[in-house]
Each structure stands twice: as C-alpha cells, then as structure tokens.
C-alpha cells in the first residue's frame, strides 16, 4: 500500500515535531484577536523554502489549523473572536464561561475542532478530486443564496427583537459596500476619504465591534470578569465528550457543512461557522437555549470552522484555486517549490501531497493535548488576572491586532470608531452580531446578485438564473425554513417573550430618526453611481429606511417596557478608557508604537484599578505592564517581522 508508506513518511520525528510546533504556535496566534492564520502563514513561508516540500507544507498546515482553533479561546474567555472564524463561538462560548463553565466550553471547542478537522482532513485524503467539482457547481446565484441563508440567522439571533436585528444587518450590509466596488468599479460611501477606498477591513471591524464594548463594560464596575470554578468530580473533558456523543449528528453535520463551505473559494471559516450555527439551532430540540450558553452552538461552529481547513485544500490542490486566504499563500509556497497543482498532482507527486495530508491530520489530532493544556492554563490565568491588568491587556491586543492585519494605523482607527458605535448601539438594544453578519456576507451577496443579474440578462433568462438552478432551489428552501422556524417555534411555546427595552424611549426614538436620515443620505448618494454599483446599496438603504420607520412607529405607540433609569452615557472610567484608546490610535504613528503602547497600557491600568493599592503593588503592576508591552513589541517586530511605526521614540 503506497498510502501507508506516505503515512510513515509523515510520522518521521522531524515532521511530527514540525506539526506539534506548528499547532502550538498557531493556537497561540489564533487566540490573539487580529493575529490571523493568514499572517502567520505568510511570514513563515520563506522558512519552508529550505525544508523539503512535504515538511514545509506540514508546518504551514499545522499553523493554519491551530490558528483556526485558537480563535475559540478569545471568543470563549473574553467574548471577542480571535479570528473571524470564531464569530459564532462567542454566541454561546462566552455565556457558558460566564456561568463558570469556561473549562467545559474550551473542552467542547477542542473536541469539536478535532472532530471537524478530521472530517475535513479525511475528505481531502479520500475524496478530493470528486469534491473539487462542488466548487465548480457553485455559481454566482448559489453564492448569493448562500449569503442570504447566512443572513437568515438574524431571525434566530434576535428572537423577539427581529426588527432591530434586521436594521443591524442593513447597517452591516451598507458598511460592506464602502470602498471601490468589485462589480462596476464605483467609489461608494467613502465621503472623499482616500483611506476608505479599500473598504472596511473585516477583521478590524470584528475586533472593534466585539472587543471595544467588552473593554468599556469591564471598567463599568469592579465585579470580576469571569467566575472560576475549580472542577469537582467529573472532568470537563469527560462531560464535554458525553455532551458531544449525545448529539453526534450535530458534529457530523456541522463538519460536513464546514468541509463544503471550505471548498467554495471566497467563503471561508466565518461563513462556515455561521451557517453551521444556523443549522444547529434550527434542528435542535432546545433551540431556545442557543445564545445563552448552549453546548451545541459551540460544537457546531468549532467543528465547522476547522473542517474548512481540509475542505479549503481541496480546490487548492486539485484545481489550483485557493479556497481560503491561507490556502492562497500555501499555494504560492507549493509553486515556489516547483510543484504544479492540478488533477495530476495526486498521481505525479503523490508522495508530497499524501505526506502533507497525513501531516495535516496528525496536526489536527495534536490539537487535542495542546488545546486541553493551553486551554486550562488560559482559562485559569484569564479568570484570575486582576482587572487592572486584564483590561489593558485586552485593549493592547485590540490595538495591536487591528494594526497588525496590514500594518496600517487607519485600520486601528476604524476598529475604534466601530467599537464605540457598537457600545452605544448595544445600549439602544441593537446587538453587534447582525451587523457583523451583514458585513461578512454583504460582499458575497452583492457580487452574487449583480453577477447573476449580468449573466442572466445577457442571455435573457434572469429569473431562471436566480430561481431555476437545482442547488439554488435547495438553498432557497433552507432559507424559507430558517425564516419560518422561529415563528413556528414561538407558536409552539405560546408565550411571546417580553423583552425590556434597554434604554429610555426618547433616546431610542431619536436614534431611529437619525438612522432614517442616514438612510436617505446614503440612498441619495447611490444616484451618482453606475447601475451595477448602485443597485445593491440603494435597495439596502431603502430597506433600512423602511424598517426604521416601522420601528419608529412601533416604539412610539408602545407604552411600557422601557427602562426609565437607563443611562446612555458612559461613566467616568468608561469614558476615560475610550479616550485613552482614541488618543492611542491617533498618536501611535507619531510617538512610536512601543512608547505609545507603554503610556496607554499604564494609563488604562490606573483607570481600571478600583481599590486603593499599596505602592509596592502599583510598582509591581507598572513593571508587569512594561514587560508585557516589551514582550509583544519584541514578538511583533523581531519574530513576526511586522512593520511597526517607530515615530519619535520607538
């Protein structure tokens, strides 16, 4: 058996070591918001030139799969996805950790990631050539409907609050339209700011939308961030294993979704996680627990996003078309090594390809021990870190992370602005997730829509292009079920949930009026665009105006349910933290990255100190702060080789 000999090749001590090191490094990088798999893989490619092709690929694949998994750590422990793939992990991971079950959440994520990674890896090993055809069966119309299906998750995410969820999605979709349009080439919604030409970077937006509110709320009062419960009796691993075994179909289905979405070029882990989450929620018997710490939600997302790793390699290796951004870099590494991708790759250069695939599977298995050890340590240290160090650490990560994506201070500024907006929106009852959903899916939906229209009208069969293709019909049916489901579920329960408006009536009404105004402004803006560039944003702006008017009327006639004691403005500490981060983003290029970080870190440390402390403790904290900043500075500059602005000092 040739396949066995390749397995033995993958098991050489060097390759095993590379897989282990890759998984550890990947997991740590993935856990830091903003440091992505793409970046880690991109920086490490040159080191693989001196290795054999198979070994080089193994270490890149291991980092990739580790990073996708590592994103769950930050999602569970701090409520901020470490990578976009872990967006949906925050929905249930953080609530579970809040209940003191952080260890269980991490065990669930680990087992699910290993399971999903294995399904994707085995699909790559045994079914790559036929599965590559899936990538080809998906045309513009299928992408459009898949994005619509992803958007149906809003109805699930915002039960009892659907109107606000839909408006949030419109905001996200409009944000996704900022910049130069791929189809049509129009410059949209940049307000003559050159820095917005490239659009809003998804990762920096996600960091802002999720992390900044977390930071501001952390300093609201002195209550601890997470409860830490030492484990008694049954271990969390055994409990997690039991929970997964009880619903193994969820794991399998989500892994298959992840594999398929991974195969589709341009989709990737974030969409796989969201689609799998939607499906898991729809088919669960306890769908009402989703969003409140449902184990099934974590399992669905984490198995799906790790399954995209193996899935993404399928079109990369078979068709030479990368499924995800890290795949694109690995494809480049392959070509530099002189390896031609394509259907003949599996026969002509089987030894390299199969050794690599086995290496990827081995790396996936290694995530189990690595994840459990790192996870235990991360949970313990995050829940035990005093607030005055935890808050500046999280703030530091958001600034570094949003900067590191493209070594661009502009992304950090966008991150901050969106973050502050998200905090206010949350006060008014609009959650961040529908906005992120719109932002993630907007470009895919728009391109699919306009391309389908272009092709359809060129051939005089627009309707057929949208509604007549078999896979499209399947996805449309899924959309309808997903949309109707919450209504049916609510009828079964027979008691509509009354949700208290989180804010005073007047402030919400003023905000909704402002939204209508912005909608009209943007709608007018679309009049100067080409038809191709205008069609999508004009419809979305129109939808936002309509939905806002409906919401306004609904709230205006609603009498009770408003929280009359609600405060819309931040308290002193909250405002202080926001101000420091704002100044940080503005001055880091001028002052120098290192010095700005040190000053900001120590300032935030003082702002988030609640009790009067002895001088020795303060000195200790300052020393720790400086060490943390220096350590990161060193890692970023010397190991990850990022361009950091040196400014006046360093």
């Amino acid at each position: 058996m040739e396949l066995v000999s390749y397995l033995i090749e993958a098991l050489t001590p060097l390759n095993l070591l590379l897989a282990l090191v890759g998984v550890i490094a990947g997991t740590i990088i993935g856990a830091m918001p903003g440091l992505s798999a793409t970046m880690a893989v991109a920086v490490l490619v040159p080191f693989t030139y001196v290795m054999g092709p198979a070994s080089g690929l193994i270490v890149l694949g291991a980092i990739y799969t580790g990073a996708i998994y590592g994103g769950a750590f930050a999602a569970i422990l701090v409520n901020t996805p470490g990578t976009p793939s872990a967006i949906a992990t925050t929905f249930d991971g953080y609530p579970l950790a809040k209940q003191g079950k952080g260890a269980l959440a991490i065990s669930l994520a680990t087992l699910a990631s290993v399971g999903g990674g294995l399904v994707g890896g085995l699909a790559l090993l045994f079914l790559a050539p036929p599965l590559a055809e899936v990538a080809l069966a998906f045309g513009p119309s299928e992408y459009f409907w898949m994005a619509v299906f992803g958007l149906t998750l809003i109805s699930a995410l915002s039960v009892g609050n659907t109107l606000k969820g839909l408006i949030g999605a419109c905001i996200g979709l409009l944000l996704s339209a900022v910049g130069v349009a791929v189809v049509g080439g129009d410059v949209r919604f940049t307000f003559d700011q050159v820095s917005l030409l490239g659009g809003i970077d998804l990762t920096s937006a996600i960091i802002g939308l999720y992390c900044i509110p977390v930071i501001i709320d952390l300093v609201a009062n002195k209550a601890p961030h997470l409860k830490f419960e030492s484990i008694r009796g049954q271990s969390s691993l055994a409990e997690a294993f039991g929970l997964i075994l009880k619903r193994k179909f969820n794991l399998l289905r989500s892994s298959v979704i992840g594999t398929v979405v991974g195969i589709l070029p341009g989709a990737g882990g974030s969409i796989a996680g969201l689609v799998a989450y939607t499906e898991a929620r729809r088919s669960s018997k306890e769908s009402e627990t989703f969003g409140k710490g449902a184990p099934e939600g974590i399992v669905a997302t984490e198995s799906a996003n790790n399954a995209t790793v193996g899935g993404g390699f399928i079109p990369t290796l078979v068709l030479g078309i990368p499924g995800t951004p890290p795949d694109a870099i690995i494809l480049g590494a392959l070509l530099v090594q002189g390896i031609k991708t394509g259907p003949s790759l599996f026969t002509d250069q089987g030894s390299i390809v199969y050794t690599f695939i086995y290496g990827l599977i081995i790396a996936t298995l290694l995530m189990l021990p690595v994840g459990l050890i790192l996870g235990k340590y991360a949970y313990k240290s995050i829940s035990k870190t005093p607030k005055e160090l935890l808050v500046p650490c999280v703030a530091f990560l958001t600034v570094i992370g949003s900067y590191a994506i493209h070594s661009n201070p502009h992304d950090t500024f966008v991150m901050f602005v969106l973050g502050i907006a998200a905090w206010f929106l949350a006060k008014l009852g609009f959650s961040a997730s529908p906005i992120v959903l719109g932002l993630v899916l907007g470009k895919i939906a728009e391109q699919g829509f306009v391309q389908t229209y272009l092709i359809g009208s060129a051939q005089g069969r627009t309707l057929e292009m949208f509604f007549g293709r078999p896979i499209s019909i399947g996805i449309i049916i899924c959309c309808i079920i997903a949309l109707l489901f919450p209504i049916l579920a609510a009828r079964k329960q027979q008691k509509p949930e009354t949700i208290e408006e989180p804010s005073r009536k007047s402030s919400v009404l003023i905000f909704v009026l402002a939204l209508i105004g912005v909608g009209i402004l943007l709608f007018n803006d679309t009049k100067n665009m080409s038809i191709l560039g205008a069609v999508f944003p004009s419809y979305i702006a129109g939808a936002m105006i309509f939905l806002s008017i409906v919401l306004f009327i609904k709230l205006a006639i609603k009498k009770d349910g408003f929280n009359q004691n609600a405060k819309l403005l931040p308290n002193k500490r909250q405002a202080g933290v926001s101000l420091v981060i704002l100044l940080w983003t503005i001055f880091m290029a001028k002052l120098g990255f290192g010095i700005a970080a040190t000053i900001a870190f120590i300032s935030i440390m003082f702002i988030s100190t609640f009790e009067k402390q002895k001088p020795i403790r303060i000195i200790f904290n300052i020393i720790i702060s400086i060490l943390i900043v220096l350590l990161f500075y060193f890692v970023m500059k010397e190991i990850l080789l990022l361009r950091l602005p040196s400014g006046l000092l360093f």
Partner: protein, 322 residues
C-alpha cells in the same frame, strides 16, 4: 549646576544625532544589511504575490538578505500606493506596483496618489491577457467565438478580475477590434473568475495567461495577447497571428517611497535585474505563464510616459472619462 547637568546630557545626544545623520548618507555602501519588507498591494495568491514569492526564494542570493512579504490589499492596489510615500525611504520598504492599475486609477478617480508621485524602480514581468473557454466548450477556436458573438450580441459572457482591471480593458479593446458585443462579468480576483469559468457559469474568461498554468486540461486557451507565443503554451496562437492587433496585459514591478536615496534606488533596481537573470527564477516564471521584462530604473520615465499616453486613450474607450 543644573545647566551643566543638562549640557552633559545634551552633548552626547547631539553627537549621537550627528552620527546617525552621517550614517544615513553612508547607507548605500552597506545596503542592504537587514531583511527588506516587500509589500504586496493585493491579497495573497494573485499574480503579484506569486511572482514576489518566486523572487523571494532567490532574493538572498543576490541581495545578501531576505525579504519579508506582507499584504496590504484594497481598492485594486490604491490603498497601499496612496500610503507608499509616507513610509520610510531607507530602501527596506519596497512595494509591488502594477500597470495599468497605477496609471488608470488616478485617471478615473481620486485614488489618493498620482502616477507621477510613485517611484517604480523596475518592471520585471508582465502577464498577457488570454481568452479561455472550458475544455468542453462549443468554441474550438477564436474564430468560432467571434462568429457566435457577432450573431448573438451580449451572449458571450467573459469572466474577469474586477471592473476597470487589465482584463476589463482587454475585453473592451477586443470588442472594439472585432466588432462584437460581449458581456464582461467582474469577479473579486482571478481565482473566483476562473472557478466560475471551469464550472461553466460563464461562456469564456478574459483573464491572465498565468491562470492557464494550474488549470491543466480543464480549460482551453484560444488566444494570448503577447507579442510572441508563450513557452508555457506553445500551441496557443497570439491575437496578432489571428489578425487582431491586441497586445497587452498587466506589468508588475517594484516601487519605493519617494524619500529613498538615489543610490539605494539604483542598488535595488540592480538586485531585481540580477534576479531576472537567475535561471531557476526564469524557469519558474516562464513555466507559470509569466513573461519577463527588463525595464530598469534608468529607463523608467520613458516607459511610464508611453503607458500614460496609451491608457488615456483606453480610458476614453471604456467611457471612464469624456
């Protein structure tokens, strides 16, 4: 007393400052002495990335140091190019640069930079446009496609990378030269465009010849817009051979911030030039459908001026300017 203390602090500082100033002027002699940042203004996996990776694998041989490749995508390169002159001009930051992008964008809209503000050092290759059809397509040669296009206006759908890209310009020029009306369907890069083509979502693709290298026998190339046939695809005719005067595609090079000293510019241009002669590099590039060019720093101005004149006309053709 205090003044004296200040003075003792001030003198060494001044000395250090003078030293560092003199050190920068002597930089070219020991340049380069640390890894060079190579910024790609697009996403990973495209032609710019790939050719930079090929350079990277032999870079140390000629420069003595490595390069670190980073990505700064957005607005077809404009995000990175508009920031280039704000970066440090010590030769350790270089950036990929493309034609027609860096010439067309400022013509069409405010892109945050003008073509003349950019400092290209070397254009080292170009990728000609090519027309592809799926292997099972009814079009066996370009003549059949043109005939069909003439009889069925708009029915020939071409997938390509984005609006106003080199592919889009190629398609518009092709329509004009042959008198047919085809439909251009923009995608967010060559990858998705080729996927839709292989899947039969569009009738044909107007993409770079390089895309043909990895697709194997899934695609048929009907014509390529180079002067001569490509060594990677010896059976594919050029447009010129078929009587259509279409030569063009995308040129790719290396640029630096404006503040980069002349001697460092020259040195970097020399390094890129030497890499362009490395047999291993040449083979990898040609195998993948790239065409090497040698437009070095001293010939740059004439090259840019000629292209500016050409693309002014193209912009009019596309209706992007009046």
């Amino acid at each position: 007393m205090k003044n004296k203390n200040l003075k003792t602090l001030f003198v060494p500082l001044l000395a250090a400052f003078t030293l560092s100033v003199t050190a920068t002027s002597a930089v070219a002699n020991d340049f380069p002495s640390k890894p060079i940042n190579y910024i790609i203004p697009f996403n990973a996996g495209g032609e710019s990335d790939l050719s930079a990776r090929f350079q990277q694998s032999v870079f140390e041989k000629y420069a003595g140091v490595q390069t670190v490749i980073q990505y700064m995508p957005g607005a077809g390169g404009a995000v990175a190019w508009s920031q280039l002159n704000g970066m440090e001009g010590d030769g350790y930051t270089i950036m990929g640069i493309n034609i027609p992008h860096s010439i067309m964008q400022p013509i069409v809209k405010d892109s945050g930079y003008t073509t003349d503000e950019l400092t290209p050092l070397y254009y080292f290759h170009y990728t000609p446009n090519a027309i592809f059809v799926p292997a099972n397509s009814q079009f066996k040669d370009l003549g059949q496609l043109i005939d069909y296009g003439k009889k069925n206006p708009g029915m020939v759908t071409f997938a390509g990378s984005g609006s106003n890209s080199a592919n889009h310009i190629g398609q518009a020029t092709f329509d004009k030269l042959t008198g047919i009306t085809s439909t251009y369907v923009p995608f967010s890069g060559i990858g998705p465009a080729m996927t839709s083509l292989m899947g039969g979502q569009v009738a044909a693709g107007f993409a770079y010849a390089t895309s043909g290298a990895s697709a194997g026998d899934k695609l048929r190339m009907l014509a390529v817009s180079s002067e001569k046939r490509l060594s990677a695809f010896p059976d594919v005719p050029t447009f010129k051979e078929l009587g259509i005067d279409l030569v063009g595609g995308a040129y790719r090079g290396v640029a630096v911030p404006k503040s980069t000293p002349e001697d460092v510019r020259q040195k970097l241009s020399d390094i890129v030039g030497e890499i362009n002669k490395d047999p291993e590099f040449v083979k990898k590039m040609e195998d993948n459908g790239f065409v090497l060019t040698d437009i070095s720093y001293k010939n740059m101005d004439a090259f840019i001026e000629a292209n500016k004149a050409e693309y002014q006309g193209v912009a009019q053709l596309l209706g992007l300017i009046k």
